[in-house]
């Protein structure tokens, strides 16, 4: 078994063995899906239309934004990265393998949501599965990029929670899941374009659900993919093996550049 496969297999099992990751990968998104699915359509008919894409986006964000950064900071603080460095584990593997295994868990949850929502909640199903998959991959890549930047740039676990929630909560509220994009005030709508959820929901509507997108859906896809690429590049650049390492290659504030591809969509 080569190193990548062995490391991948371990990280995948960790996503189930670790109770916190099990919660964030599976129990939280599926529990929230059931709760919102039973309650919200009666209060907010719009949610009925977006149960599948909306809950998939929430599942992706919960797994990546809430589940991925903290273990990165924890591993650095506990000296696990030092063991990795000694044994030749490269930063690219440290960042990419948990991102990929989280992706596998997320796809499983997305499949459960997509398969059950039409039965349980009479939710509309995607009409274009290719568009659905492309958008799913794009939001996973973008959120993974943001998550690894948060994990690498945050100085400790408390800061991680702050930044993760700073992306997660506005995405839930303003990302086109609870409230339609067109119902947002112009200023808030423009600000919401800095959130990956907004672009994912726009692309899901335009490319997968057979609805009219609020703005160019392929621009959303490209910006999400670019966000992920920039995120991984920044995370590799800012990566530190050791919490006590005084040598930094760049200021952690550079991490904000991960949002630059999303900000660029404001020009279109």
């Amino acid at each position: 078994m080569n190193a990548f496969a062995a490391h991948f297999a371990f990280e995948f099992r960790t996503g189930v063995r670790n109770k916190t990751l099990l919660l964030l990968n599976y129990l939280f998104p599926l529990g929230l899906y059931l709760m919102l699915g039973f309650i919200l359509p009666g209060l907010n008919p719009f949610f009925q239309e977006v149960i599948i894409p909306g809950m998939v986006v929430i599942a992706v964000m919960a797994a990546y934004l809430l589940g991925l950064p903290e273990p990165l900071v924890g591993a650095r603080e506990k000296g696990i990265f030092r063991s990795y460095k000694i044994n030749g584990v490269p930063p690219s593997s440290i960042l990419s393998i948990p991102s990929l295994t989280t992706g596998v868990h997320t796809v499983i949850v997305a499949a459960v949501i997509t398969a059950t929502a039409p039965i349980l909640f009479d939710a509309p199903v995607p009409v274009n599965w290719f568009g659905f998959l492309v958008t799913l991959v794009a939001i996973m890549v973008a959120t993974a990029g943001i998550a690894v930047v948060i994990g690498v740039a945050s100085s400790n676990s408390r800061v991680v929670i702050l930044w993760s929630q700073a992306v997660f909560i506005p995405s839930m509220l303003l990302g086109g899941i609870m409230v339609p994009y067109e119902d947002l005030t112009p200023g808030v709508a423009r600000a919401s374009q800095l959130l990956p959820a907004t672009h994912a929901m726009n692309a899901f509507r335009g490319l997968a659900m057979g609805e009219a997108a609020d703005f160019a859906p392929w621009v959303s896809i490209m910006s999400l993919l670019a966000c992920g690429a920039v995120g991984f590049g920044l995370a590799l650049f800012l990566f530190r093996w050791d919490s006590h390492d005084t040598v930094r290659r760049g200021h952690p504030a550079l991490g904000f550049l991960v949002l630059a591809p999303l900000a660029l969509t404001l020009l279109f």
Partner: protein, 304 residues
């Protein structure tokens, strides 16, 4: 055989704090070299510079002929490291850790080492559920799995029980016999005295003394302790004066003499006991240990 580790004028600053202040030493291939010192003396920083985990502020380093600063990737295949403060992921099992790290070293998993270090029964137990000693043994197994030429051990017996410690010492001797160079940082003076060919005692980032444990103990000002027990207690008077004895006191049934030259002292004691119609029951000679010497250096700063 040449030097496996060369350190020349190593300096390491953390801000204004001088952790290592211009130390130099060499370790020959196949030697066990002990780094001793109190907390904060610079042992771990020195090791971490050699291991490529810290960038030195100044000086030159060579480990197996490789510069840890400029050739960190080459260094990985040459060295094995058991860190003082390193962990593994909480959920990883010994079998998984061995599989992953061996894979990154491009070798087959060394499950024989798990067996040798008594971890076979725990091969599928998560790291968090292992005892402290089992965690240390796993870290050691991972450090030596790829047969490194130079092995760094930072407090390797910390948290080990007596049988595990003895097994580890056997393993360290076997590695030395196989030609592995070992650098051992420890607080355990008995361990250093037992295992190390040479030791350096660090104090405030500098080498206070370096040499073989025997050389170092012989350089000290410590006295040899001569404890004598006789049938009738003829030595139990404070007015006795024997050659080279600096101090005399009673400890239970033993008369204890601190001597700077035990030959004349012991000879005079035996003559005195015979001359007074007494007879010896027990006579013990305890030479100054590396620990005595270490304490002297740590408290007074005196070194060679």
């Amino acid at each position: 055989m040449g030097a496996a580790v060369e350190v020349a004028d190593l300096r390491k600053l953390y801000g204004d704090f001088v952790a290592v202040d211009g130390i130099s030493f060499e370790v020959q291939t196949g030697q066990i070299f002990g780094l001793l010192g109190t907390n904060g003396a610079g042992k771990t920083t020195t090791l971490e510079c050699l291991e490529g985990l810290r960038l030195p502020t100044g000086g030159t380093l060579r480990v197996g002929g490789i510069d840890p600063v400029t050739e960190p990737r080459k260094l990985r295949s040459v060295i094995g490291v058991q860190l003082q403060t390193a962990g593994l992921p909480e959920t990883i099992t010994p079998a998984e850790a061995m599989r992953i790290f061996c894979a990154y070293h491009r070798i087959a998993p060394r499950n024989d080492l798990l067996n040798r270090l008594g971890l076979t029964d725990k091969a599928d137990t998560q790291y968090l559920q292992l005892s402290g000693g089992q965690q240390r043994r796993l870290e050691l197994a991972l450090a030596i799995a790829h047969d490194p030429r130079v092995l760094f051990l930072d407090e390797p017996t910390s948290g080990l029980d007596v049988p595990s410690r003895a097994e580890l010492h056997r393993l360290i001797r076997e590695l030395r016999a196989a030609g592995t160079t070992i650098i051992l940082a420890t607080h355990d003076m008995a361990e250093a005295e037992e295992l190390a060919d040479r030791v350096a005692i660090l104090r405030a980032g500098q080498i206070a003394v370096i040499g073989s444990p025997r050389d170092i103990t012989s350089k000290g000002t410590g006295f040899t302790k001569v404890s004598v027990r006789t049938k009738y207690g003829s030595l139990g008077t404070s007015s006795l004066a024997f050659p080279a004895v600096e101090h005399h006191h009673q400890e239970d049934e033993y008369s204890v003499f601190l001597s700077s030259d035990i030959g004349p002292t012991v000879s005079a004691i035996i003559t005195f006991v015979d001359a007074n119609g007494d007879s010896l029951i027990d006579l013990r000679v305890e030479r100054p240990s590396l620990e005595d010497q270490f304490l002297e250096i740590a408290t007074t700063g005196r070194g060679s």
